[in-house]
């Protein structure tokens, strides 16, 4: 991995403000959550007995969220069930090293074999890989991924304000609109006609 140019460093250091931390309180228990750190609405900490102006140290997964946060006065308003503020936490910026569209050709237990089409270089040769279905972070996506599913696979690194780089790999399904029964029949019919035209069997 090469070093950053001065311009890249400037763009990195100009990353937007960190996402807001959400404070939720029922007047007794306090929860702090955020959408950053790779997990949406990740609960950073929760507990009882926090008072106004308490400093809380935050440690997110993989070090993605780190910092000390001083609480605003949560208790001075009856309206303050939910408060948000921008916290002075490290932010990060992603750099994509490789990105593919992946077509699942077979799924056997927790393994799936995929063809990879390079999204950064359309002339790159198609690659074939076998990976674990567990690479998909969401259970419903692991369940719904079948032969023919299309996924996006991204590999890159996240550059933090402090200059630290962390590798990431992310596999997410390509989400296409559901089609109704009539549309499915039309597609099947069209596929059959094409298959006939090219002398292919239905398989």
């Amino acid at each position: 991995m090469g070093t950053s140019t001065p311009l890249e460093k400037a763009i990195d250091s100009s990353a937007p403000d960190p996402p807001p931390i959400t404070f939720q309180s029922d007047g007794a228990e306090l929860k702090l959550s955020t959408t950053t750190g790779g997990k949406p609405h990740q609960v950073l900490t929760s507990g009882y007995g926090y008072s106004s102006d308490t400093a809380i140290k935050l440690n997110g997964d993989n070090g993605a969220i780190k910092g000390t946060l001083r609480l605003p006065n949560l208790w001075d308003s009856e309206q303050s069930k939910v408060k948000t503020m921008r916290a002075d936490l490290d932010s990060f910026k992603r750099v994509i090293l490789q990105q593919w569209e992946a077509v699942v050709d077979s799924k056997d237990g927790d393994q799936m074999s995929m063809r990879l089409f390079d999204l950064k270089d359309k002339y790159a040769p198609v690659e074939v890989v076998t990976i674990s279905v567990d690479e998909l972070p969401q259970e419903e996506d692991r369940r719904n991924t079948t032969v023919g599913s299309v996924l996006y696979w991204t590999i890159g690194y996240e550059r933090r304000r402090g200059g630290q780089r962390m590798r990431f790999t992310e596999i997410r399904p390509k989400r296409l609109p559901k089609i109704d029964h009539t549309a499915q029949l039309k597609i099947n019919m069209k596929a059959r006609k094409l298959a006939e035209k090219f002398g292919l069997d239905e398989e």
């Binding site: 311009l7 400037a10 403000d17 991204t154 890159g156 609109p177």
Partner: protein, 210 residues
């Protein structure tokens, strides 16, 4: 990406996206809804922000890894809302860059808009906003605009916003318009992103030499 047409904002809601297959249930459940109203709908998924009023639908992401997912979502929405009249669409790319040296920041503004012709009329003339319009080579869009201005978010920063605007022919059917958007999204959107990054890199690199 932005679409202009006749929209029904309250339809655009996280669980509608889930019901159409355009997002997962957990993403819909975890969406942060600001407002869902007959006039305006605004919410955030974990990776995208969606805002819709009666004439405009805007979907944006700050995650570079989700550029293609953003495009898929636009395609998906116009496929599901197949009868919604569409008039135009656009691609947008936006970046804020901080200059550590205020003199270099001023020099960049001066190079973009030389002040000599203004100094007879104003003391300390400075660039507030500059919009340059033209066509990206090979693009089918009506025009490309590059806007440069002091960053409203970062002190001694520059905001560069690039917009490519496509007008849809009203004589075409809604189905044909959707095909046009899909074609542009498939073939031109990646080129637009590549070009936008090239513009930012080349505009600024002389000001960031070691």
């Amino acid at each position: 990406m932005v679409l202009l047409g006749d929209f029904n904002p309250p339809i655009l809601a996280p669980h509608w996206l889930f019901s159409t297959g355009l997002t997962s249930k957990s993403e819909a459940d975890e969406a942060k809804v600001d407002v869902i109203h007959p006039e305006f709908s605004n919410f955030q998924l974990s990776w995208a922000a969606i805002a819709c009023d009666k004439t405009r639908l805007q979907i944006e992401t700050s995650d570079i890894a989700k550029e293609f997912e953003l495009r898929d979502m636009v395609f998906g929405i116009i496929t599901v809302l197949e009868h919604i009249p569409l008039r135009a669409f656009g691609f947008n790319y936006s970046v804020h860059v901080k200059f550590n040296d205020i003199e270099v920041w001023h020099r960049f503004g001066h190079d973009c808009t030389p002040k000599a012709i203004w100094s007879d009329y104003l003391e300390k003339p400075g660039m507030r906003s500059l919009v340059i319009e033209g066509k990206r080579q090979g693009a089918t869009s009506k025009r490309t605009q590059i806007k440069v201005e002091p960053s409203p978010e970062i002190e001694t920063g520059v905001h560069i916003h690039i917009n490519e605007h496509f007008v849809l022919d009203n004589e075409k059917t809604e189905s044909e318009k959707r095909k046009e958007i899909e074609t542009a999204g498939s073939s031109e959107y990646p080129e637009f992103l590549k070009h936008s990054k090239y513009v930012v890199q080349n505009l600024l690199e002389n000001y960031f030499k070691e």
